[in-house]
Subunit: 751 residues, 2 copies
């Protein structure tokens, strides 16, 4: 980058004021004329047959407009994924599955009536967990797993792979990714470590539960959906497909999002749209926290067996991995991305990764920031740590020696482009937390690496200058992570204006322009090119107008601080708003100042991270206290370092939390802690200070050299916690989260 | 035009379904969360001092949130036009001026409380009409007329002219437009006719009264205004200027408009925005019919003295006109456009037009479809008719002989571009209604000509193709006359798609792109170029994508019926939606299919009309029954003849109505017929069948040769009625509307 005025500088987020003062409009704030309120009735059982639903008492309640059940909405359509599930019909397959919807004139009336619904279930034997599922004795889908054309995983940049042939089994999909000869390499290895790692299901735990308002349109089959989503185009496709509507008849209006983390791709949107079309009134459904945790799509549990071999010099020679992904009633297709990363962090000639997606009678799982990778790297990075101990090598040195670089392969055999993994490791080696480790008793420092390949997609943007000098950027992206704050800087830098004069216009599916969903860490790198192109065209239009105004050559005109002027004549200026006004009024002129940019990034810009955690482990109680965390991440180029650090802090906190606190508990197939009293979720005071260290190893493909940012920081924290506990307490934890009880038992076993 | 598939073909309007079925969303349908309702309290007196306002009882009513008066909202700002008037403070200047606003939780509560307001007025002497105003004894503005920088007339394509020097007078502005030596020419003329013509004030009589919802934004000073308007950008400027806000903080969302006709430029928008900002809640104000007629901006009365001289061959030699425009408390600046047309229909070397804009204590006047021209041409075309009688010439021949063409001058001295006035007259001469006139007793046929120069402004548009093949046109224009239906045809023609697959996306002031307001007949010709450019770019993008897909040369690819194919290989096609999908997904590709067009039309494309009316006049009662009307209009090129005819029917009906029915009645300075029971407004059965004959004399500047359409058809009807009555009854009516009572008296006088 050349010298910049705004780009690369720390600048506060553009929508902070609204969020802090409470004036931001969330979906639950929306109230439309004639709007009704819907409450879902969720199944109490993980697997049961619905014998009958008696809605008479509910329907008789004052204010109740409708009680809808499966036959009212499904119209024979078969669900093949969580978002395509409307209401259960005949059989429920998870506790938390919507069985009925009560629609009333107020939310309270709907809730009261919902409690009067009398549903007669015949409880069926259910599949509790992966172990039971793998026995293939009781089946989640005795008639076979419903399938459809699309794959949701592709939304998140994962590799969905090919489905196996149809058979009645709980094993939804088995895949093998292999290169070299793992068996032979392991047999000849100087050192081999082997362990099995498991982790709890966790929930994305966004602040704002799922909330949707759907409004029938002006013509039959038209519907507008106001929703808390990460990607309006993805939701439009989903709603249209699920309800059999034309895409053009489905209008999605993305609202302010109170946290997404991969979960906000329209889980209840089709249901609410179907209800609104049925009752021909606007309908709002806002899930309660418990409903949200019961009926949405959490992150899956995994059981990962790792066998890792190295030669005497510490060169990895074999990696043999077996992955069981414990899904709910539908799998999300995590296998591809797990394989990509678990087999793609370190150079290794002989790799075999076997994956099984298995189904249970639980809520279908979904995406959670870097889906599957924290789990995968918990296994891999713990194994690397153990291998270093076996070899007597420094774990950072071992990583550096084997770390992948440009041209090395991912676990699925694709070559990496130029990446900054080693640059992060170099920063890590110099950090005091590492150099001073081992100085205090009962304390340990753990290190772990992580990363994410990142998706990338074409995107469009429209830029215009208004008569008061305001620059408007019209984009079809959703801002869940500050991405629009960076787009503002790109436009401000290009046009020579104060970033405060650049406003974002949020596109709906109708107004566009198209942008991919804000997931897979792709939105900044995908959108930047379009914004840059649109801004550059607008810059050229302004220079042309100014050249005409000053009767000067265009090359002699410059844009500085919202003004155009002839170089060397700083006193004589014209505001860009005045130029826009001239252009808007000039008959026969070039027309309003507006331009569209369209761009498709050429290739991905993967991001890597190395993280440290320092913990204290109480030798008597095994209480783990995190003392300090360091998150080092290659972001290529930090468009706005303040926001990049925010992403690093947030992701690191979530990784640590997966390591130390979070877990959904199931008993008898039912989630037993669907609330924030019982689901252990760290407060700010439960987390250590996190130091964010930005590494800028420019990407050749990302805009201005920028790389993906959002997902890498979550990928290493859980493994770093486990390695820190190993360092402090001398025992290897193989199950997440690291509870004091389990750790204490391990410490007792060692003694 | 080459051979077309969609352009130039009759096709129904795109939003007819919603309007007919009642699902279109008008402003009054809008209900926002926490929204309050506002009722205005209007002055009962044309001129009075407000001694005090006792709001105690109103404030005590349940549900009343606020009672606001002038000092609450005006903040020292002085109004200089009707839209900038918030609430009266100290003095009221017209009966109907808002004095207070009551805000309550329901409209009924606000109305009830409003009736309890106790306002103590000191009634002041008022200026009743133009005659009294011209005496300059009682003054509308004893301290001088408040002024501001801008001129509203410029919105409508009129010539605002220069204001005279400041003095205390009811004559707001006097202008003289002169060429040649009128006095001398009149003295030497072979024949001279002279008469004085007057007309009543009329109201625009849109179906939907003014309605505004204003909602405070997320930050102080931000406001969103949902409004029934013809132009969101004009309203934004008005609201920002009136309330002292930054333009970027004012967001205007244009709603479906139930009729505008020049009146929907934000009359109460600033007031409602001020109220919403004051109470910090969304506020809706929907005027009742009576309030709307009392407090908005009707069309002015005029008194026009015409002296017209010709030589023995029928060549016009002198036109001497004195125009008094009777405004309310503010003038709108009609003088320029009246002079343009009254002195611009016929070639004449010696012209003098003297205009006076005078003020009275009535509601400030405003624009009504071709503002001022029906009044002006009532005077001119009646005079031409009389001149023909005096000369013994056929009135159509006299018009043809003198009609202006390219290079001839308007009344303000500008040369006309190539126009189709004579082409219309040629059509008229051949029409049976003219050739068969005089065949039946007590019937008469009148002819009159009209026209409108038309405004033109730069505009932008964005076109994109969606993955399901839907083409979206994003425009900043408001559709009050079917203009968007024509834009759809332009895009469909350019892209080779079914017009039903083209959707319009309505831009707000934020999302843009900029377009001028839908007034001055300019929107179709101003917007078409931008839509054509955007569509053409998208066409090129699609051809590139298809060429890549088929591995063919781009020149060999064609777009037909929504599909791309290689010429000569009709079997192998790919839908444009699929091309868009490929492009949206292709990493490294060109990006989404989207393009912006920006265009500024080079010069105007004026439109002319010739109209016939056949009437029966009862010799005993003087009842005038319209039997038949013919409206011949040069539209250059009819983009959609069905909609052009709709414009011609509507405008002709309004012109006939001004001739025969409509008039606001004032007594004691107060409007006495502010409702549709007493304001005579024709039902469909009161109007004759109207034959619309389209003449296509292509404009060199308008898109595809198209000319302005909306305003010409209203300009000739009133004069045609007067000339028909002259033909049937033998008397010259010089006052509009032609009432039976006045006509009977004239007929009595003649006998």
């Amino acid at each position: 980058m050349n010298e910049t005025t705004h780009l690369g500088k720390r600048r506060r987020i553009i929508d902070g004021y609204e969020k802090v003062t409470g004036t931001a409009h969330y979906t639950a704030d929306l109230s439309l004329a004639g709007m009704l309120h819907a409450r879902p009735v969720l199944s109490l059982y993980p697997h049961a047959r619905i014998r009958s639903i008696d809605a008479e008492a509910a329907r008789a309640m004052p204010g109740v407009v409708a009680v809808l059940t499966g036959p009212d909405l499904n119209r024979g359509r078969v669900a093949h994924s969580r978002p395509s599930m409307l209401l259960a019909e005949d059989v429920v397959v998870f506790a938390g599955q919507p069985v009925a919807v009560v629609v009333a004139t107020s939310e309270a009336k709907a809730a009261d009536a919902a409690s009067l619904l009398d549903i007669d279930y015949e409880v069926l034997e259910h599949v509790e967990d992966a172990e039971q599922a793998l026995q293939d004795e009781v089946f989640v889908w005795p008639q076979g797993v419903p399938v459809a054309g699309g794959s949701m995983a592709s939304l998140h940049g994962g590799d969905a792979g090919e489905r196996g042939e149809a058979k009645i089994s709980n094993i939804d999909q088995s895949r093998v990714f292999e290169r070299g000869d793992v068996q032979a390499a392991l047999a000849q290895a100087h050192a081999v470590v082997e362990r099995r790692y498991t982790n709890a299901w966790v929930h994305q735990s966004y602040m704002e539960p799922h909330a949707v308002v759907a409004q029938p349109g002006g013509r039959p089959g038209q519907v507008t959906v106001y929703t808390s989503t990460q990607g309006q185009y993805a939701v439009r496709s989903e709603v249209a497909r699920t309800l059999g509507l034309r895409e053009r008849d489905v209008r999605i209006e993305p609202m302010t999002v109170g946290g997404g983390f991969g979960a906000k791709y329209g889980i209840i949107d089709s249901l609410v749209a179907a209800v609104a079309l049925q009752v021909r009134r606007p309908v709002r459904m806002v899930l309660s926290r418990s409903e949200d945790m019961l009926t949405t799509m959490p992150a899956p549990g995994t059981r990962i067996q790792v066998k890792l071999g190295a030669d005497a010099e510490g060169q990895l020679v074999a990696l043999d991995v077996q992955v069981v992904i414990e899904n709910g009633a539908f799998s999300f297709g995590h296998a591809g991305i797990i394989a990509t990363m678990i087999g793609g962090m370190y150079r290794c000639a002989n790799v075999r990764i076997q994956t099984q997606e298995v189904l249970t009678h639980r809520a279908p799982t979904g995406a959670y920031r870097a889906p599957g990778v924290p789990q995968a790297l918990f296994a891999l990075e713990s194994s690397i740590d153990e291998l270093a101990r076996t070899l007597g090598q420094d774990p950072l040195d071992l990583r550096y020696q084997n770390a992948v670089g440009a041209g090395d392969l991912t676990g699925t055999g694709q070559p990496w482009p130029d990446i900054g993994f080693k640059a992060c490791l170099e920063q890590a080696r110099a950090h005091p937390i590492w150099r001073k480790r081992g100085e205090r008793p009962n304390e340990g420092v753990g290190v772990a690496a992580g990363g994410w390949p990142g998706a990338f997609s074409p995107a469009g943007a429209v830029c215009r200058v208004d008569t008061d000098g305001t620059v408007r950027l019209h984009v079809g992206s959703v801002d869940i992570s500050g991405v629009h704050s960076s787009m503002v800087l790109i436009a401000a830098e290009t046009l020579g204006v104060d970033p405060d004069t650049v406003e974002i216009v949020q596109g709906t599916t109708d107004s566009g322009p198209f942008a991919p969903a804000s997931g897979g860490s792709q939105i900044t790198i995908s959108l930047s090119g379009a914004v840059l192109e649109a801004s550059t065209q607008v810059r050229n239009q302004l220079l042309d107008l100014a050249a005409g105004h000053f009767e000067a050559h265009r090359e002699d005109v410059e844009l500085v601080e919202g003004q155009a002027r002839v170089k060397g004549v700083p006193g004589n200026t014209i505001g860009i708003g005045q130029l826009a006004q001239l252009s808007q009024r000039q008959a026969g002129g070039p027309g309003p100042v507006v331009a569209e940019g369209r761009a498709a990034i050429k290739a991905g810009a993967p991001g890597f991270t190395v993280q440290f955690v320092r913990v204290h482990v109480d030798p008597d109680t095994a209480l783990v206290t995190p003392l300090e965390a360091v998150s080092i991440q290659d972001v290529g180029y930090a468009l706005n370092p303040l926001l990049v650090e925010g992403q690093m802090h947030g992701g690191t906190a979530q990784g640590l939390s997966m390591g130390m606190y979070e877990g959904l508990h199931f008993a008898g197939g039912t989630l037993t802690n669907p609330n924030y009293l019982e689901y252990v979720f760290p407060r700010a005071s439960d987390l250590p200070p996190i130091e964010a260290i930005i590494v800028e190893h420019p990407s050749e493909h990302g805009p201005f050299g920028a790389r993906i940012v959002g997902e890498p920081p979550i990928t290493a924290g859980a493994a770093a916690v486990a390695n820190a506990v190993r360092d402090a307490a001398g025992v290897r934890v193989t199950e997440l989260p690291v509870t004091s009880e389990a750790l204490w038992r391990l410490m007792q076993d060692r003694n």
